[in-house]
């Protein structure tokens, strides 16, 4: 029991983080793509595709943070101080983009809040990539507490991860617009998605090569035998997915490019798990080192098994309720 509880929790938190990345990913992506039009009514159309969802999407981030606090308090207590600055920057960026979303609806001049929405979304995405990169490259730990400096995370690798996530979210956002809009916005998004697809592939390749090269532990995980026999399909499937995404974008398909972008994220996520399992705080603390007491994990697990299906049910309901295209000049109110 005690052995596999942390495994279950790692899977649950992984799912929450992944849900967050997918769901808030496309709505942050809309913010990243915001400056690509000069038309206010097109911007309104873009925000309306995410308006009913964004509050709920950001809640997955709280679940990820709270989940870490609940199930792995000792990892939470190391990661947050270690990545203090990028975490705070991410939070402040989310504050600005969140209020900008509501404020631009009630403000006479939208210029300032459009800017805040764009910069906030981009900075939040970048900071999330930096947090991920900072974690992958390892955190200094002594006696179970963070023992490094305030800027340990600031490496070229972490910044590359930041750029990758900005590109990836923009891709999700563009393919979301292909799915949810029509007219000039959808047309432009299709072109952007193609460019972004290439950019994201290049960035993914760069991160994927850099990680094992700078990190013997991860190189061994991927390139030692027999692991290599099992793992080589991961990059292959990634390439195949990207190829299909490109074809679907060329052929004027609407839903498949978005699904393919999500699949690319899933593959990237699987790659991360393969590289780092069972470490939660590489290179020293595993999920078992940092787990909460079994009684706490069980108590929360019962609640999660009961509540998470309900949550997923009404999240699905709201996506169904607001299904269909958003047209220019159309309003929900």
């Amino acid at each position: 029991m005690e052995w596999y509880l942390p495994l279950i929790w790692a899977a649950l938190i992984g799912t929450a983080v992944f849900m967050y990345v997918l769901l808030d990913g496309f709505d942050l992506g809309i913010g990243i793509l915001f400056p690509s039009t000069r038309s206010e009514s097109e911007r309104d159309q873009m925000t309306r595709t995410i308006a009913p969802y964004w509050d709920g999407n950001e809640t997955w981030l709280i679940l990820g943070g709270a989940g870490l606090f609940v199930a792995f308090p000792r990892a939470y207590a190391v990661i947050m101080p270690a990545l203090y600055l990028p975490v705070i920057v991410m939070l402040l960026a989310l504050v600005f983009r969140g209020v900008a979303f509501e404020f631009r609806h009630v403000s006479y001049s939208k210029t300032g809040w459009n800017f805040a929405f764009n910069v906030g979304s981009t900075l939040a995405a970048f900071a999330q990539g930096v947090i991920l990169g900072g974690l992958i490259q390892g955190v200094a730990v002594r006696d179970g507490a963070f023992s490094g400096g305030s800027f340990d995370w600031a490496t070229p690798f972490a910044f590359l991860c930041g750029l990758s996530l900005v590109g990836g979210y923009a891709l999700l956002g563009a393919t979301w617009l292909v799915l949810k809009t029509e007219g000039p916005v959808a047309h432009r998004a299709r072109g952007q998605a193609k460019v972004l697809l290439l950019v994201v592939l290049a960035l993914m390749a760069a991160v994927s090569l850099w990680t094992p090269l700078s990190n013997p532990r991860i190189a061994e995980r991927w390139f030692s035998l027999p692991n290599f026999y099992f793992l080589w399909p991961v990059p292959l499937v990634t390439a195949l997915t990207a190829y299909l995404a490109w074809r679907w974008l060329e052929n004027g398909r609407e839903a498949p490019p978005f699904l393919a972008s999500m699949a690319l994220f899933l593959l990237g996520f699987i790659g991360l798990v393969i590289s780092n399992f069972p470490y939660l705080v590489p290179p020293s603390l595993t999920i078992w080192d940092t787990a909460a007491a079994p009684a706490s994990q069980i108590f929360m697990l019962l609640g999660t098994l009961l509540l998470l299906p309900i949550v997923l049910g009404y999240v699905a309901f709201i996506y169904w309720l607001f299904r269909g295209k958003v047209r220019e000049g159309e309003s929900y109110h």
Binding site: V95, G98, V99, A293, F299, G303, V315, L321, Y332
Partner: protein
């Protein structure tokens, strides 16, 4: 320059949490008000309720967004600023926060989408039900977060082993001794806070001679609510105080600036507690009144601040004055609400302009009372972060003071901008006032007959 990380971490957390609590204390009450308006609309078919519901929903959206984004910050600050807190009590407090996210946050955030954008897409009953679900979600969120906070005040149901708290009895943890009192007191405070905002807005419209119908409705509903809840709050607060006296006597001693426990306590209307000398200066007191309230006997004794060393005392001035601000606002609320009810009964409520003028300026009183109350209970717990288990000074993260100072400055700047714009936009929404939702094809009405009746009534009034 040398920065003290503990002081800075406390300042930062105090700042972000005070900013945050403003919005939940409004949205908990406002969502319940929206649900009430929706229910009245369904029941009577009167469009006035529907206009009011739409009007307040727009304000709700802006406030809720500010609450969400400032709340995300808090869920990460336990780790960024108080990582030892996570290690020592994470086993106990963690699941309470987890339950809050799973049972409340998703519910609120998701059904808010229906409330804001679903009016034309769902039938009226589902629209109103969504408002009710949001209201239940906000109250549930208060349930869990207050359970976690109360456990930090009055820990129960746990065992310590290896310097770390482990759960022994979850029911005792969730329903720890101070929780029922704190929950009732805070929930009621949130409803009162919103009640006085609605009160002020209604009074403002009547004075300006605009939206008279809606203004009268708001005023009646606000008086009906506050005339019951404001006196109830006095009772709940008293009960909460007695509970605190039992479990955290030194906090009560600081609230009353009561130094010498061997004598009955006076109630100080004003005093300047001198924490070095351990006495009060410039006292203006009602003899033995504090003893009467707390022990129900004129000569009853309760512990004084001098009974513990200075290092175990909370900051007396902060707790003492915050408590007085809360009390003053509480008594003002009771007087204002009961007087309003009296005017209503006499039938002169809408004509008593001096009263309406005062009330139109009172939108902020609930917020100040809530913040003061939290200052009392949180500062009053010091020097402990978790009473008897973990001192605040031992709970900080290994982050240098300069880093915390820098981010604190960023928070102040960012929240300052967001807050003033938020206030400005909400004020403008109020100035615009409730207006009729343009009837577009496909828009739902509770029933065609009710809609026709309304149209007829409006035509007659013209």
């Amino acid at each position: 320059m040398d920065f003290d990380p503990v002081v800075l971490a406390r300042l930062q957390f105090a700042f972000t949490i005070v900013f945050h609590i403003i919005f939940p204390s409004f949205t908990i009450g406002l969502s319940a008000y929206l649900a009430t308006l929706g229910a009245m609309w369904l029941r009577t078919g009167n469009d006035r309720y529907q206009h009011l519901m739409h009007f307040w929903t727009r304000i709700f959206a802006v406030s809720f967004a500010m609450g969400v984004v400032s709340g995300i910050v808090l869920s990460y600050q336990f780790g960024t600023n108080w990582s030892r807190f996570s290690v020592v009590v994470g086993n106990v407090v963690g699941p309470l926060i987890g339950y809050e996210v799973l049972s409340a946050f998703f519910l609120e955030a998701t059904f808010l989408g229906v409330l804001l954008f679903g009016f034309k897409r769902v039938p009226p009953w589902l629209y109103v039900l969504s408002a009710a679900i949001v209201a239940i979600g906000t109250a549930m969120s208060a349930f869990w977060i207050l359970s976690a906070n109360s456990w930090m005040q009055t820990p129960a149901g746990h065992q310590m082993s290896g310097g770390v708290a482990h759960s022994a009895d979850w029911l005792a943890i969730v329903f720890n001794p101070s929780f029922p009192y704190r929950f009732a007191h805070m929930l009621n405070a949130a409803y009162l806070t919103t009640g006085f905002v609605v009160f002020a807005v209604g009074a403002r419209y009547l004075l300006a001679g605009r939206h008279m119908d809606e203004g009268r409705t708001m005023l009646r509903m606000a008086i009906g609510l506050t005339a019951i809840l404001a006196p109830l709050q006095l009772f709940l607060g008293d009960q909460h105080g007695l509970n605190t006296l039992h479990y955290q006597p030194i906090k009560v001693a600081a609230m009353e600036a009561h130094w010498d426990g061997s004598k009955p306590g006076d109630f100080h209307i004003f005093a300047w507690p001198d924490e070095v000398a351990g006495v009060n200066r410039f006292e203006l007191s009602i003899p033995k009144a504090a003893s009467l309230v707390l022990t129900h006997r004129m000569n009853g004794l309760f512990p004084g601040l001098s009974s513990v060393p200075a290092s175990d005392r909370p900051p007396v001035k902060v707790v003492f004055f915050a408590f007085r601000i809360m009390l003053a606002i509480g008594f003002f609320m009771i007087a204002a609400a009961l007087f309003g009810a009296f005017l209503w009964w006499r039938g002169t409520l809408f004509e008593t302009r001096w009263y309406l003028r005062i009330m139109s300026h009172c939108w902020w009183i609930g917020f100040v009372a809530v913040i003061s109350g939290w200052v009392v209970t949180e500062s009053g717990r010091q020097p402990w972060l978790v009473q008897g288990i973990l001192r605040t000074a031992d709970a900080t993260s290994p982050v240098p003071g300069a880093t915390i100072a820098g981010t604190l400055a960023l928070f102040v700047l960012a929240y300052g901008v967001v807050f003033w714009f938020g206030i400005y936009y909400i004020n403008r929404l109020i100035a615009l006032g409730p207006h009729k939702v343009t009837a577009e094809p496909g828009a739902f009405s509770p029933s065609p007959i009710a809609a026709a009746q309304d149209a007829g009534r409006e035509a007659m009034q013209r």
